[in-house]
Subunit: 124 residues, 2 copies
DNA sequence: TCTTTGTATTATTTATTATAATACAAATAA
DNA sequence: TTATTTGTATTATAATAAATAATACAAAGA
C-alpha cells in the first residue's frame, strides 16, 4: 500500500500515516496479519525520519489496529475489538461535521446519503 | 452561551472555542446577528489570553460564520452560504470516522442511525 | 556472525500554540 | 470634547508539539 504525504496539510505527518493505514485496513487493502512496511523502509520511501513513522506505528498499536514483534515487524491486527459505539473523539468530530453541514443548509437526507456512499465505497 | 475549555484535551483552545460557537450556531443557541462575547470579556471569563480568543474569532470570520465591526463587536452571520457539499476537510474527517466504525464492525444501519440522531438532536 | 526487526535514548531544530504588554483606529456615550 | 469600548496590529517571549538526527540495543533468523 502506498502512503502519500501532503506537505501542505496542517495534519501532522505521523497522523496522516496513521489515517491512511486505518483507511487501508477498512477498505481491505491491508489484510489481517499482513506486514506493514518497515519503519526504516517507509521512512526512506516517503523521505521522512524513521522516528516519525515509528510514532505513527506506536499510535496504531495503542489503538489496537496493529501488533508488532521483532521478528515479523508491524502487522495488521487479526481480531479487532467489535464495538457498537463510536469513540468519544469520533463522536465529537462527527458532531462538528454535522453542525457545519446544518449551517450550510444541507438536509438530513443529503447528509445520510453522503455517509451511505462513503460507507459502501469507502472512498469519494 | 457558555464556553467551556477542557485543559486536558489535545485540541487547541482556539479550536475548542471555534467548535463550540459553530455548534451553538447550528443548535440555534446563537441567533443570526447576535453579538458574541467580546474578545477581552471572553478571555477574562474563561481565564485565557485575549489573543487566543481573537485567533478563534479570526478563524470563524474566515470561515464565514461571523462578521465584525468596531461598533458592534463580532456577530453571528445573518446569511450563510448554502452548499450541497461538505468541505474537503470535513469529507476527510468523515472518511476517517467511517473507516474506524467499519473496522469496529459497526453496521451501516447503526452508523446512519447515530448520524440521524445527532442531526436531529444536535447533541449526544 | 551478520542482518533485519522494533524500540530506546539523547539532542537539536522547527513549527505551533499561548501568553504578555502595548498601541491604534473607529464608534459610542458621557 | 473626553473617556470608554470595540476589534485589530505589533512585537516579544514562553511553552508545547512535531520532526529530524545520530546512535545504540535486544530479539530473531539466515
Amino acid at each position: 500500500m502506498i502512503i502519500k504525504i501532503n506537505d501542505m496539510s496542517d495534519i501532522p505527518i505521523y497522523q496522516q500515516i496513521r489515517n491512511q493505514i486505518v483507511a487501508g485496513i477498512s477498505e481491505g487493502k491491508l489484510e489481517p496479519g499482513e506486514q506493514l512496511p518497515t519503519v526504516r523502509g517507509l521512512a526512506t520511501e516517503i523521505g521522512i525520519n524513521s522516528m516519525t513513522v515509528n510514532k505513527a506505528y506506536q499510535l496504531l498499536k495503542q489503538e489496537g489496529y496493529v501488533y508488532s514483534d521483532r521478528r515479523n515487524g508491524v502487522c495488521v491486527q487479526k481480531n479487532f475489538i467489535q464495538k457498537e459505539q463510536l469513540s468519544k473523539a469520533a463522536m465529537e468530530e462527527l458532531k462538528c461535521i454535522i453542525a457545519e453541514a446544518k449551517i450550510g443548509g444541507m438536509s438530513k437526507e443529503t447528509f445520510l446519503q453522503i455517509c451511505e456512499t462513503v460507507f459502501e465505497e469507502g472512498n469519494v
